[in-house]
Symmetry: C2
Subunit: 660 residues, 2 copies
């Protein structure tokens, strides 16, 4: 029946795209499931998640502040969309399966908590009370828990699996840090040394622990050891031993543990994936199976197979489909058994490149010219190795010209020459090679070249037109022109065999990087929300044109004369979601993070009064209030640098091992 | 004959210790070779290499300056020793082999060049001319080229093998840096932005390249992007993309390439080693072989085998030797063939732990007491799990007490209690366990405990005696007491199974770390010698008590008001070999290196005049003179951070993969 074919096609397509949803098999549920998998609701879902996440741009503390009712209304709309999508999903799969799945429970809890928070927040703001939108940290978790977040969940599972082993190494690492700190306290604390700002050196145990933790990230090297070094060379041995053990050995051990777990986990995930795929295909087979003869094996006939394949991939060519059939039915029996049928999902994923050596269209239109001697000479020339080398030389010359001052009219005009040369190259290639194969899916560099050169041509013409018409040059268009010019040079890499191998490895990492990107966004978003609530508004950024005297100390008298203000770090703050994200990137890079974070926190408790005026206050303050900033960073460091970055590095290591 | 046995024993011992020297087989050469392998001349050789390397401490620029004739005389003595050792080696191996071996040629060239340099230097100094002891960079190369430097040569070969692939990734990486720099120049250079010190931002291409290279090491993050960030948020995208591609992707790619090469190379080296070993054993067999019957196989008799084993390992027990024989001669024929003989080298390396459950000596002396009920109760108590837990708790309590202020008399006296408890633990264990097995070779923690506790006891008693006698406390003894106290706490790690596994992995890395240590010393020494010649005396360090106004700017008016002087970095200089090594460690850690190096170089050309007085001079100076510092660091960074540290990380990765 048609319903059977629908069901079978659904199983096959689930297997093909690695979907692992146990949907209800009633005809109505199958129709709903088909709709559920349609691209439009999926794109809409991601769009509304994006809108939900972007709300942080317009909420207090905002980049562009919108009235509260606008953001609340938009968020309500988002919640509605997520609820509908979840409701749809509930109709697709059996009720008991729905309630057993933790991700559905997660989404429901997130939606309910968000709603509760919105009501409480609205009420508190209406009554002018202090209110915190704490449910904003839950927003990115939606990305993880929607059915489409498979890859992201896999990444989180990979982290969860590595955690126990990381935890043991971390305990040992912390033990080492604590022991070294104790030794530092005993060896250096009683010597009456002073740090650069005149305070006592290594006298408070918790301060020592934190300073040495920072040293592991190398961020305060060599500052932290200078007082000891200035007092005696011998103390440097302590720091060298510390860095060797904790920075080199332990950080490598973290990478080793993550890498080993990653490889183990990867194998297990692949096994699971293959199993789920097989399971789906077996179910599809069960729907289509028939018995040719009494007591014979269960098989699927050619006709049924064809029908299903047509439904799964409507745009597959007949030739391609028959090729797949002949692979399955290698004995040419007209039917296939279960084993042959199960391969179908993988066969459909194999891209068959039809290498028809089609003649050039020009050859069909006017063969006399296209096949003439000069035309053939052009073809031979373009296909010659020298043509590639000639254009590489042109690109290198171009690079030099770009580096020179473009205000010089000669240089500015040379741009037209280079553009013409690049355009000529593309036209020549289009003359020689069949256009459809030139612009085939796999010809990355042809697409790259053409897009870059055509865009550069358009941008340059627009720029020239603007200039000649009103003498006015748009900075934005000029920027685009420059970027396109530089991008054009990248092509030179493709000419060298060894480079191509490396680049191909890097390109193949691409899809996985998208998953890592989402992972990073989830973690950053949560930390940004927390950071904004805790540290917002303490450090202010003044425009360059501002003549406010507070500009010199980032609008906070506590920062008067500090390195932070002198280094112009005022914009490194948690005052809105954009600067929070940038600050978190800086914390990921690790350099100078203690300065950045310390001083964002320094200004936390004392709004305007200067604790330096009161030495007692100042020292008490130093030991108490930075704790939040320290916990914040240490958590961030463990999660992002020790875990996520190491997973990323493991991933690159494995990719190079497999591909290169 | 005796000579045959000598020769065979030599082959076997070469195979056992992986020596791969093709010595001459004449009886005289064999005797010389035996002497060559004796521990005394080898220790002497290493001693004189150490002396030669340490000469840098006493040569201009010196830590302790000795008269020139003293250092020259000592170096001459070292050269003599090296020549003698080489001459000895030349007598051991066939002449043609000697001249074909590049390491011998290397040593000869090093010795000759050093001699020439010494003569030239002596002559120049005598005539008061400017002279450079350039041959000092050759000194560490002796470590690599002596026959005992096998492991080190293997490490260098490993680097050489990885170089071509690293080179291609490096080219691509530099291409990426150059492209990004070009883009930065075009996008940011024309916007009239200013850096923190008021100079133009990103206007000179080479400066941009260097700044972005530094950014790859993260050392100038976020400073380098602050001017752009302050002008617009959008520019941060450029830097994030740059860091992502160059710091995360490319640095991981370097690690991946080094790691893959390391694994490949490791397998090849092991294969070579096994081959060489087999070759030596086959030669030993050929010396000892005899034919039992006409036309029969060649074999070695039990008597001959025993004789050779006795010569190779004179202190092997008869039982152990017979055990090895029974492993070889498993059919009990009284002779063995070639295959069985070849195993001998590996068999000799296997440590046979004789697990005799010897009774406790006390049991022999007075069994009535030792086997009495209370004594047995003690034995059961000590062997109980609770005993370990009790002592772990004592250690943790001890840790808290150490953290507290030791000036408090209660705390100070508690130290005696803890010492008594630890001593009691050791005595109890000695009472319960057989002392020889308690102090066996493999009981690392027992040795550790005993040595630490006994040393602590002695140091504490000496300290108390000094204090009570004259009220005088020696800072050095107190330091030792503190260090021993903290070290005592480490033992707690051994109680937790998971920690023990990690620690054992780390301990097994030990021997390889020694090779890395030598590798690092070779590279550091060369860079230190070059750095001292180029940068010495530019930055001066003044004692804390000094009241010289030049102290504020490290004795160089060029450094007035710079971060370098303000951060008290004056001691980070190339003024002697110790501070050079410490500076190189700081460069390896990478943080702040651009500041350290830049300012060591800043003061290079202008001795006393301040270029800031002359803006033209200052800007010209900025572009010309730092080139040497930049080349110096970039070379150091590539060699040490990109290559050697990555090999070290690969090594830890592999160790954790194999062991953990
Ligand atoms: Na750093």
């Amino acid at each position: 029946t048609k319903e059977d074919f629908d069901l079978a096609a659904l199983y096959v397509s689930d297997a093909q795209y690695n979907r692992n949803i146990f949907f209800d098999t009633s005809p109505q549920a199958v129709r709903l499931y088909l709709l559920y998998n349609h691209w439009l609701p999926r794109v809409l879902l991601y769009f509304f998640i994006l809108v939900d996440l972007c709300l942080a741009l317009f909420e207090e503390p905002a980049v562009v502040l919108l009235p509260l009712w606008v953001t609340l209304l938009v968020e309500l709309l988002c919640l509605l969309v997520f609820t509908l999508r979840l409701f749809h999903y509930a109709r697709v799969i059996p009720r008991d399966k729905f309630w057993k799945d933790p991700k559905n429970i997660c989404i429901i809890v997130i939606l309910l908590l968000t709603l509760v928070d919105m009501i409480i927040y609205g009420a508190l703001v209406a009554t002018n009370c202090y209110a915190v939108r704490w449910s904003r940290v839950l927003r990115p978790l939606l990305l993880v828990n929607i059915t489409e977040g498979r890859q992201l969940r896999r990444a989180f599972r990979s982290i969860r699996n590595a955690l126990p082993e990381i935890f043991y190494v971390f305990l040992l690492f912390m033990f080492s840090v604590l022991m070294f700190s104790l030794m530092a306290l005993k060896l250096l604390g009683k010597r009456g040394l002073k740090t650069i700002d005149g305070s006592a050196y290594f006298t408070n145990y918790l301060e020592v622990v934190f300073d040495l933790y920072v040293l592991v990230t190398t961020a305060n090297s060599p500052d932290v050891m200078m007082p000891a070094y200035n007092s005696s060379d011998v103390f440097v041995l302590f720091f060298i031993l510390y860095i060797f053990i904790n920075t080199y050995i332990f950080m490598s051990a973290f990478l080793a543990v993550v890498f080993n777990n990653y490889k183990k986990h990867l194998k297990e995930e692949v096994r699971q994936l293959v199993k789920a795929k097989r399971h789906k295909m077996v179910r599809a087979f069960a729907v289509l199976q028939e018995r040719r003869e009494e007591g014979g094996a269960l098989v699927v006939s050619h006709a049924n197979w064809t029908q299903v394949v047509r439904q799964v991939q409507p745009n597959i060519s007949n030739a391609h489909r028959e090729l797949l059939w002949s692979v399955c039915d290698d004995k040419n029996q007209g039917f296939i058994g279960r084993l042959a049928f199960v391969q179908l999902a993988d066969l459909l994923n194999i891209e068959v490149i039809t290498l028809k050596s089609r003649p050039h269209p020009l050859q069909n239109w006017c063969p006399s010219i296209y096949l003439s001697a000069p035309s053939r000479l052009i073809c031979r020339m373009v296909q010659h190795r020298a043509f590639v080398i000639a254009y590489d030389l042109i690109i290198l010359t171009n690079a030099v010209f770009i580096g020179l001052d473009e205000e010089n009219p000669m240089i500015a005009n040379s741009e037209w020459v280079f553009l013409a040369l690049y355009l000529l190259e593309i036209l020549l290639k289009l003359y020689v090679f069949e256009p459809r194969s030139f612009f085939s899916k796999h010809s990355f560099w042809n697409w790259f070249d053409t897009i870059i050169v055509v865009s550069a041509l358009i941008a340059t013409i627009v720029n020239a037109a603007l200039k000649s018409s009103g003498g006015y040059t748009s900075r934005q268009i000029l920027d685009i022109v420059f970027i396109l010019r530089v991008l054009r040079l990248i092509r030179v890499v493709d000419s060298i065999e060894r480079f191509r191998a490396i680049i191909n490895t890097l390109i193949r990492i691409g899809p996985a990087i998208l998953t890592f990107g989402q992972l990073i966004v989830v973690v950053y978003y949560i930390f940004a929300m927390v950071g904004m609530e805790v540290f917002k508004g303490k450090v202010k950024f003044y425009d360059e044109d501002s003549s406010d005297p507070a500009k010199a100390y980032c609008g906070n008298s506590l920062l008067k004369g500090t390195d932070f203000a002198q280094a112009n770090y005022c914009k490194n703050n948690f005052n809105n979601v954009v600067s929070s994200f940038i600050l978190l990137v800086e914390l990921t890079v690790v350099n100078q993070w203690h300065d950045i974070l310390y001083l964002n926190a320094t200004s936390m408790v004392f709004g305007g009064s200067n604790p330096a005026d009161n030495p007692l206050l100042s020292s008490g303050f130093a030991t108490v209030t930075h704790v939040s900033a320290r916990i914040f960073f240490v958590l961030f460091h463990i999660l992002v640098v020790i875990v996520i970055i190491n997973i990323f590095v493991s991933f690159v290591l494995e990719a190079f091992y497999v591909e290169y």
